[in-house]
């Protein structure tokens, strides 16, 4: 074999060209190795163009559209007016926006309360063989379509659903009771679908806590409750924060849950956007609602970022 021609370069970078290689080895090797920043930008360009064209420019367009006006037959008149945002500030819309914030917050909170003991169980109480299975079982409903998750609850809660059938047969009810179309059914649907988003980051945070730290706390005389409150809970905080943001943000834009498990009385921001774009064909107003959604998303991420910074500066 040839002698090693490569100097001990930094990060696998070659500084000299090896003589006597087959000709197809040589061209474009600067591109593969990334010898210049240009090579890196060039290789990144297909993926970044994809995102820039199909995501960044549509979002920019939506922002511009939110200042436009609607003409006859849904025609868009480009202008700079705040009329759409003025319309959003009407009580009818404000109610829906407030409801969306409340439902999203409630969903995140309920997911935290239900998910924390579950994540604790998987991280600390389950034996390692079963752990994989439990995590897999947690992710499975999450990987099936949201439609399936919603459909399940339609069968259970509906007027001709399982609970009604059981209660009628047992004589608890004399006429079917509608569990659907209530805040309860919508929040239940949201909690059911978004629960894994809370449990997985919580599990990741709990799993990272060194067992020796917990033992040390016990050795120093702290009881189970004190160890939990003073050691485990503070260390699981990053998991709580990312779980909350992972649930809160998509809940703001969810429209399927309220469409099937709720009704006009429980419609959320996502339903308004859906309605303005597809049924009412008032795209500028829909765009303004979308811009509002993105504003709420960004303030959520901002608070999340601050929590994270605080965490890292404290450690």
């Amino acid at each position: 074999m040839e002698p090693a021609v490569r100097d001990a370069g930094v990060e696998g970078e070659r500084t000299s060209r090896a003589p006597g290689k087959r000709s197809w080895d040589e061209p474009l090797s600067w591109l593969v190795v990334g010898r210049t920043p240009l090579a890196s930008h060039l290789l990144l360009s297909p993926a970044s163009l994809w995102v820039l064209v199909l995501l960044v420019s549509p979002v920019t367009l939506l922002t511009l559209l939110s200042f436009a006006k609607i003409g006859a037959y849904g025609r868009i008149l480009w202008s700079f007016s705040l009329a759409n945002f003025g319309q959003i500030m009407r009580p009818a819309y404000l109610w829906v926006i407030g409801r969306t914030l409340v439902y999203a917050g409630a969903t995140a909170l309920i997911c935290l309360l239900l998910g924390f003991p579950a994540a604790y169980y998987v991280a600390f109480a389950a034996d390692s063989k079963r752990k994989h299975l439990l995590l897999f079982a947690l992710m499975l409903p999450f990987w099936t379509s949201a439609l399936v998750a919603i459909y399940c609850w339609l069968i259970v809660l509906g007027r001709e659903g399982l609970i009604n059938a059981l209660m009628l047969r047992l004589g608890i009810l004399s006429t079917p009771f509608s569990f659907l179309n209530t805040p309860f059914s919508v929040i239940l649907g949201l909690v059911y679908f978004y629960l894994p988003y809370m449990v997985l980051p919580l599990y990741a945070a709990l799993e990272k806590i060194p067992r020796t730290l917990i033992e040390a706390s016990h050795d120093l005389g702290a009881g189970g409750l004190k160890t939990f409150l003073r050691v485990i809970l503070p260390l699981s905080w990053p998991g709580v924060a990312s779980g909350a943001i992972l649930i809160f943000v998509p809940c703001l834009g969810d429209f399927l849950t309220a469409e099937f498990l709720g009704g006009p009385r429980t419609y959320l921001l996502g339903n308004l956007i859906d309605n303005q774009f597809l049924a009412a064909q008032n795209w500028p107003l829909g765009a303004a609602l979308t811009v509002l959604l993105m504003g709420m998303l960004m303030s959520g991420l901002y608070f999340y970022g601050r929590v994270e910074v605080e965490e890292t500066s404290r450690v």
Partner: protein
């Protein structure tokens, strides 16, 4: 909290997660068309699925779409994750990493209405291919995440350095060491992208043109019509598909370590 109380809670928690799925599963075999009262065992809803031509068309569309989206997302993801994991640090790396995460952070409804307005403004008609391009966008963070993780592991293993020390050229190292060792993650990423595309509803709902009906869109319109056991049977099939895809993904992405791959064949 005692261990025992936790165990009991764990059981109830998983019951809550799986109870509705079990109800759906059970009633997919129920020999009654509307009520959830048990009227005997039947396979007829599954048989009916096989004879529903519209549904089979939707399945074919979804499969084609998922293959196209997975192919594009894997190719773009491989290029991008290779640069992010292996090239020397350069200015703007953080910008790219953030950019590729955007499709995960932005709610799907925003992407849906954004793409709809974008295609309308650019006067691009909504076809199968615009939908495939949109699905590739949604799947991109998943392929990048999967492949990049593997490439970073590979960097730690220093197998490429060894190949170069033994006289392999840069291209030979890339083609004979890097690419084969990264292959399981490319497959895992493609599988993930396939699943993401196959199950996507929200973006598809806004961007699919009139003639393009995917499986989730078909389910949506069936659900709008009302609850029927046929949907139960269909949902059970989707659940089994998701379990298989998720299992395969876990096997191919985390099953084998770099070292054992590199062992003598």
């Amino acid at each position: 909290m005692s261990r025992r109380a936790l165990r009991i809670y764990g059981v109830f928690f998983y019951l809550f997660l799986y109870f509705p799925l079990l109800v759906m599963f059970a009633f997919s075999f129920n020999n009654a068309s509307r009520n959830v009262v048990w009227r005997g065992f039947t396979f007829k809803w599954y048989a009916r699925l096989l004879h529903d031509t519209e549904l089979l068309w939707a399945l074919a569309t979804s499969l084609k779409l998922a293959v196209a989206a997975a192919a594009v997302a894997s190719f773009l993801g491989l290029l991008a994750s290779y640069v992010l994991a292996r090239h020397r640090r350069f200015r703007g790396r953080g910008f790219y990493a953030g950019l590729f995460n955007l499709p995960l952070m932005i709610p799907e409804i925003v992407m849906g209405v954004g793409l709809l307005s974008f295609f309308a403004k650019a006067r691009i008609p909504l076809t199968f291919w615009t939908l495939a391009a949109s699905h590739a966008l949604i799947a991109l963070p998943y392929t990048i995440g999967t492949i990049r993780g593997r490439l970073l592991l590979l960097k730690d293993s220093r197998l490429e350095e060894a190949a170069m020390d033994l006289g392999a050229t840069e291209w030979a190292t890339f083609l004979k060491v890097t690419l084969p060792l990264a292959w399981p993650s490319i497959v895992a990423g493609a599988l993930l992208a396939f699943t993401v595309s196959f199950e996507d509803f929200v973006t598809t709902f806004f961007v699919a043109g009139v003639g393009v009906v995917t499986m989730p869109i078909k389910i949506y319109s069936m659900m709008k019509f009302g609850v029927t056991p046929e949907i139960n049977a269909l949902a059970v099939c989707l659940l089994i598909f998701a379990a298989l895809a998720l299992g395969l993904n876990q096997l191919s992405s985390s099953g084998r370590a770099i070292e054992s791959d590199a062992g003598p064949a």
